[in-house]
């Protein structure tokens, strides 16, 4: 080959891959170089044979064998139908429902149980003094004043609990409230 610098362009030219700007130059060279014309002819012959490979018929039995093998494999997969494990497959509605249920459970599940559940609300106007009952003394309810930095009182100075009775609108409901007495030091 005497024109090695044209080989690359000739190989591209044979397959119509040569940029337009270089086509004129290679055609001009081919017009005056017999060796390069022979090379171009060989390359085109190879191109023609390659393109014939595309049209060669395949053995139907070989194609069918692959077809059946794939389908058998697909039907035997544990995930069967459902487009794999993707949400866009047939499993999508089930996955969406499961996710919604899980979210609802998480949001609605009680975080903690309240320590004190009020039994009934008592209107102040309905609180009536009651007669002393046997047992511990009954005294009027006082708000307990909580003072910071208060010294803890000795346990021995805490008096007996007081019993407070609340009367509600419903005569069948009476609320009794045991109240610790304030330490005597206050």
């Amino acid at each position: 080959m005497s024109c090695s610098k044209f080989e690359t362009d000739l190989a591209l030219y044979a397959g119509d891959d040569l940029p337009a700007g270089r086509v004129a130059r290679i055609e001009s060279h081919l017009a005056e170089c017999a060796d390069c014309r022979a090379l171009a002819q060989d390359l085109r012959a190879s191109q023609a044979l390659l393109s014939e490979l595309r049209d060669e018929p395949l053995d139907d039995a070989m194609v069918a064998q692959v077809h059946h093998r794939v389908l058998a494999e697909v039907k035997n997969t544990p995930w069967t139908w459902g487009a794999g494990f993707t949400p866009r497959g047939a499993l999508a509605p089930l996955l969406t429902l499961a996710a919604a249920l899980l979210l609802a459970v998480v949001l609605l599940w009680p975080r903690h149980q309240p320590k004190h559940v009020p039994v009934a609300r008592v209107e102040p106007a309905h609180v009536t003094p009651i007669a002393p009952m046997p047992g511990p003394d009954i005294v009027p309810v006082r708000h307990r004043v909580v003072r910071r930095h208060m010294r803890p009182a000795p346990a021995a100075q805490v008096g007996p609990p007081l019993l407070v009775q609340f009367v509600t609108d419903d005569p069948n409901i009476v609320i009794y409230w045991l109240v610790d007495q304030k330490p005597q030091g206050d």
């Binding site: 190989a11 595309r54 064998q65």
Partner: protein, 177 residues
């Protein structure tokens, strides 16, 4: 509803339809890349199983052909590397004596066989580029997209491959003539 969309909803019939449309193309490419029928069948089977598995991941708007080509090239590369099969000149079948009325066809078939053997002697990347460009007739840009290379790289590969193939086929064809 397109076949692609129906496939995404999990329709086995649609998958089978797509496989029927593309199985010959996949097998043909695998045969050219591996030059072995059993290997090509194994490769095609693996390609379609991957297609089945990745339905939801594929972009419907881009179609499935580029994906199929890319996976076919990758699967064939893995099989070739694993089995290390190589076809030498000694394996080129001896020419049969053709009947006079079929002389031209038989001669042409022998030439195609030589080209097939020549393909098998190319490097992995050059062979893939040449098969996609010259056998499958894809554009250089499409080949570049499938192989994950630049267009310049693909041009360089097919240029080198064509020259090597021409050397191989020219030598054998001249010897036979």
């Amino acid at each position: 509803m397109t076949a692609w969309r129906r496939e995404n909803t999990g329709d086995l019939a649609a998958f089978e339809q797509i496989m029927s449309q593309s199985e010959r193309r996949v097998l043909r490419v695998a045969l050219r890349l591996l030059n072995n029928q059993q290997d090509a069948q194994d490769a095609a089977q693996e390609v379609f199983l991957r297609l089945y598995k990745h339905f939801g991941d594929l972009d419907e708007t881009r179609g499935y052909e580029p994906w199929l080509y890319r996976v076919t090239v990758n699967v064939c590369r893995d099989i070739a590397r694993g089995r290390r099969r190589s076809i030498g000149l000694a394996e080129v079948p001896d020419p049969v004596t053709p009947q006079p009325d079929a002389y031209h066809d038989a001669e042409r078939a022998q030439q195609r066989e030589i080209v097939r053997r020549g393909l098998s002697r190319l490097g992995e990347k050059e062979r893939a580029a040449l098969v996609l460009r010259d056998v499958e007739g894809l554009s250089t840009r499409e080949v570049a997209g499938i192989l994950g290379s630049s267009e310049n790289t693909v041009r360089s590969q097919i240029c080198s491959a064509r020259l090597k193939l021409r050397d191989f086929t020219g030598r054998l064809l001249r010897r036979r003539s």
